[in-house]
């Protein structure tokens, strides 16, 4: 009895991931659902452009969630599902833009801003006025006479 209980405890996590769920009319395991959610979170809903496919209530987003789940159940890789979406909607569908000639400036912008900041800092520092020239002998004598009187 004790051994059986232990076995059940060990098997519980596996059982949980093998649990069958239903989402958007597709039947899949919990592990598959988690994978599908992860993919949907990275894709932009084309209708409400600042929402992910996973978070949007638009009809198109629902249809795309169904397609993602069907592909996951069919055993397709995350990459091939992403490629399916990019082929149809372009890279705009990816919430995280990939590094490409189109996005070089975007990804370089933090470093450009840093360089600009350093350049501004350097320029302001070196443009501080130079110290006044030392007093000449006659100046010092004048100073002496002024302070003594």
């Amino acid at each position: 009895m004790k051994r059986l209980l232990l076995l059940a405890l060990i098997l519980l996590p596996t059982l949980a991931s093998a649990q069958i769920v239903q989402r958007d009319g597709v039947t899949l395991t919990q592990a598959q659902e988690t994978r599908a959610e992860n993919i949907g979170d990275q894709l932009r809903c084309l209708v409400c452009q600042n929402e992910s496919i996973e978070g949007s209530s638009a009809t198109l987003a629902h249809q795309l969630r169904v397609i993602i789940r069907q592909h996951v159940v069919a055993g397709d890789s995350d990459q091939s599902i992403m490629a399916f979406m990019v082929q149809r909607y372009g890279i705009f569908v990816l919430l995280k833009p990939p590094l490409s000639p189109l996005t070089y400036l975007l990804y370089a912008s933090p470093f450009l801003a840093l360089a600009l900041g350093f350049a501004a800092f350097y320029l302001t520092r070196s443009s501080a006025p130079p110290p006044p020239p030392p007093l000449t002998e006659s100046d010092q004598e004048r100073l002496k006479s002024l302070t003594e009187s």
């Binding site: 452009q49 149809r88 705009f92 006025p129």
Partner: protein, 184 residues
Amino acid sequence: MTTRRNLLNAAPLAAVALAGAGFYTILRRMESNDYDPHALPSPLIGKRPPPFTLPGTNNQPGFSNTDLLSPPRPMLVNWFASWCGPCAQEASTLDILAQNGLPIWGIAYQDTPAATAAYLSQYGNPYARLAADSSGLTAINWGVYGVPETYLIDKTGIVRWRWAGALTDQVLLGTLGPMLHQYA
């Protein structure tokens, strides 16, 4: 020394002025329908439409991608729906184009035959061929993300242009007209 300092002081002002000019240009172009920040470039441009076969609706035979391989002249494929407001807005524009001899093939998106029939009798039927994508799955393969969407297909069957949203007079004069001329 002071000129350099003045230059540095002027830099933020110049940046603000530049940004202001940029925003002004964007807003002006949005106002005149020249530029839509929500519009997406279609990955279908430069390619043929993906394989599909759609049934007809309202006693029409429907069509498939093989019917679009080499049209005798440039043509439009127009995705529309009876429940779509901007579709009714562009209906008169489509009618004018059809009357001037431009072939327009329509695809009713997620619609019922009865609703499509009622819509066409109310707003006019500019379509030379009419098919129905009731599931909306062919639309996904085309990259359609809303209705109306209009695709220009040249004589070699290649998609040259996609417009998401209603076809206005500005779009007609500014973009579609020159494109039709180019691919005639």
